[in-house]
């Protein structure tokens, strides 16, 4: 009998994604779902979806989900986790959602050591609203609201969330990964798995920042976008473990 080597994770519903060609959300969804399957926690997982491109995340994950207002996912997840302390609660948030309007919520969820896991997808731009500047937009990066390139004198400098949150004692696992090649994808999955495992052990707040592309709003092909991520994003947002119970590896 033939052995199944590759199949859709049980934690993903059999629904086509709405994401643009080359967008990494589909891959990141899959990695989260594979981790849920491998840990066997699908029946006790509760996800919180963001506002932004992945606003419809609840249509893809085969687990209970709540849709949060823009930026408020960590607060919503806090409410959920305090009602169901034994559940695995995760938020899935983009950079506009987490680093701009929801900055206070993520900082305080981390500071409280809230036992939730945040998957933070950083593509350096607002995707859903059509390509405006995010707090993570790089200097000189052209967006619809930084048409002459982001200038630090006007718009300030991009926020490095991992570096910022890792200063908080309540944050137990803070790491940055990327989805630009197969090796990094494997590392990203391992990081997400570790974050979920730490939540299950009751350690505290965990966040995996995933550097990803937005070919549509960057105006590139998917391959050009992956290349741009590697050449421009990784130098400003270095990959690695910023904080873990074993210490950072950077």
């Amino acid at each position: 009998m033939a052995e199944v080597l590759f199949a859709r994770p049980k934690a993903l519903l059999d629904v086509p994604f709405h994401y643009c060609p080359g967008c990494h959300h589909g891959i990141i969804h899959r990695l989260v779902a594979e981790v849920i399957d491998e840990l066997g926690v699908g029946e006790i997982t509760i996800g919180v979806a963001p506002v932004g491109c992945s606003v419809l995340a609840y249509e893809y994950f085969n687990c209970d989900m709540l849709e949060a207002a823009h930026g408020r996912a960590p607060a919503v997840a806090t409410g959920v986790k305090r009602v169901h302390p034994d559940a695995v609660v995760f938020t899935y948030q983009g950079d506009g959602d987490l680093a701009a309007i929801g900055c206070a919520e993520i900082v305080h969820a981390a500071a409280r050591g809230e036992k939730i896991t945040t998957v933070f997808v950083n593509n350096a731009i607002y995707g859903m609203t059509g390509g405006q500047m995010a707090p993570t937009t790089l200097i000189d990066q052209v967006t619809n609201t930084s048409p002459y390139g982001r200038k630090s004198a006007e718009a300030g400098l991009p926020i490095r969330m991992c570096e910022m949150l890792s200063t908080l004692d309540g944050a137990k696992y803070i790491t940055r990964v990327a989805i630009n090649n197969a090796v990094n994808m494997a590392k990203a999955k391992a990081a997400i798995k570790k974050a979920f495992e730490l939540q299950l052990s009751g350690a505290g707040f965990s966040m995996v920042e995933v550097l990803s592309t937005c070919p549509t709003n960057w105006g590139m092909t998917p391959l050009e976008a992956s290349d741009w991520l590697e050449k421009n994003m990784i130098p400003y947002y270095p990959l690695g473990v910023y904080k873990s119970p074993e210490g950072g590896s950077k």
Binding site: L13, I44, V55, C63, D64, A75, V83, H84
Partner: protein, 354 residues
Amino acid sequence: MAEKVLMKGNEAIGEAAIVAGCRHYFGYPITPQTELTEYMAKRMPLVNGVFLQAESEVAAINMVYGAAGAGARVMTSSSSPGFSLKQEGISYAAGAELPCVIVNVMRGGPGLGSIQPGQADYFQSTKGGGHGDYRNIVLAPNSVQELVDVTVLAFDLADQYRNPVLILGDGALGQMMEPVEFKASQSKAPEKPWAATGMKKRSQPNVINSLYLQPDALEKHNIRLQEKYSLIQKNEIRYEQLMTEDAELVLVAYGITSRIVRSAMEKARKNGMKVGLFRPISLWPFPEEALQRIASRVKMLLTVELSAGQMVEDVRLAANGQCPVYFFGRTGGIIPSPQAVYDQIVTTYKKGGK
């Protein structure tokens, strides 16, 4: 029969919530409701409950959203400026049909205003406050005992209709002490098969959501919400009326104001004036028909509020031109004396009615 205890309004709300089975509270300190937040901090751990001081009112209401979505009886409280910050979350909770209780111990505004009592959040509470076509059930008690009774009721109504319920108090009610009795609660949260609890053995995920990208789906959702609101309007109207049968002038007031107005009414009666009092307890649904009936037989209505005139608009709509509707209000945290209201009654009488 339960013993009577002397309690501050704010604290009585907290104890009533616990009696009603609320075990999750998320709040943020703001005067003049802080004693409620403090009370929950003290009491919740003693009843195996959860107290969490959020980083902001915005976070607090979203924690409520999460906890309500996860199936808990949950409450938050604030005062006017903080209540404004909660409006976003209240709109989402209404959209996602989440049962939760939100207490607003009103103070003066706009802006930072004052920390003195006010009633100027009437529009915000009864007409939406956040974006979209939605309604909250709004209950406005006028004594510490009624704060208790209404709080227990609020949890039941929230669950029954899967809707946010607001308790609208004010700085005076929150701060005053009166004897109260906590009856053994008959209140019990129903099963919530729709809640996000983890799928367990369920075959389909539960999704708590207020997003409907397709126009026809969103309109259908809104039509269904409106049907629910119609049902609430039919079933949940609460009010009190005193000496309205033979009255020529009926005062309309809610909350703390209704008690001052009542003293003025009694004095007016003693002096031979035929004055009554109509007190809405549910501000939404507003007791429109009952007031309409009164308006059809009295000479005039006089609305008294701690605002520049907000509920008076609903009173005028209810009166529908059947009699003149006069208004007397103070703002800035000034509570008119019974004498000031009495003087207003005399003046209004002189103006005459129909």
